[in-house]
């Protein structure tokens, strides 16, 4: 949040004066959008990583990694798109985002399916439904 205020203060002198400089306004708006998007994306990526380390069994770890990696990657790439100059860069970043959006859930699904076929068992803990728990 303090970063946002700092950037607004940085952009303010250019905005003030006779005749609003709309490119400076657009730069400030882009900066704020970039910071918000990158921050949200990094939050999701770090949360997914901590989930992969902390959660008890394979399927919950897969859930944490698969969900957050997709959303976090899209948000980080969106934040970079706001900073890109030139349509070539924007097109390349959009392609990366598109392929990640297609391949990341597919890879997660394939890993889950292979683990299920190989007989990987989830830990059901207290809410065990097969009657073997305490």
């Amino acid at each position: 949040m303090s970063v946002l205020l700092m950037m607004a203060a940085e952009a303010a002198p250019k905005v003030a004066g006779p005749g609003v400089d709309w490119s400076a306004v657009w730069d400030a708006v882009r900066a704020v959008l970039t910071v918000a998007s990158l921050g949200a994306g990094l939050f999701f990526v770090l949360a997914g990583t901590i989930g992969v380390i902390r959660l008890p069994d394979f399927y919950t770890r897969l859930h944490a990694a698969g969900m957050t990696d997709t959303l976090g990657a899209e948000l980080i790439l969106l934040g970079l798109i706001f900073q890109a100059d030139g349509w070539q860069m924007i097109a390349k970043l959009l392609l990366v985002a598109f392929f990640l959006f297609i391949t990341s859930p597919t890879a997660t699904h394939a890993v889950a399916h292979a683990a299920y076929r190989a007989g990987e068992k989830p830990v059901l803990g207290r809410w065990r439904i097969d009657g073997e728990g305490e």
Binding site: L42, T49, V52, A65, K92, L100, A107, R117
Partner: protein, 103 residues
């Protein structure tokens, strides 16, 4: 804007380093494969951010290539886990799944 990109790259590196823990300590093969796949996704993001830090837009091509290779490698390694071979046709895989009754 440079400091923000540097901070993003730093947090991505921290996330990748934490993911290495699951790669080394994962009890099953699939945990390790999950860690490798997630590490690859974060590598793609890090490459994109790094291009903005050094201000050379060429690197996004490498990130695009890495994203595709990461997916292909994951599927290939899964197939190898299942069959202990890579030259298995899709019809064989479908036949096996039908025999096991997997939807």
């Amino acid at each position: 804007m440079g400091y923000i990109m540097l901070a993003a790259a730093f947090f991505l590196i921290v996330s990748m380093a934490l993911m290495l823990f699951r790669l080394i300590a994962g009890p099953s093969l699939y945990d390790r494969l999950l860690a490798v796949n997630s590490f690859g996704t974060k590598t793609v993001l890090f490459l994109c951010v790094f291009c903005f830090i050094i201000d050379r837009p060429d690197g996004v091509d490498i990130a695009l290539l890495y994203a595709l290779m990461n997916f292909t490698a994951t599927i290939a390694v899964l197939k190898f886990f299942n069959y202990r071979a890579l030259n298995v046709g899709l019809l064989k895989a479908k036949y096996d799944m039908d025999q096991e009754g997997v939807q």
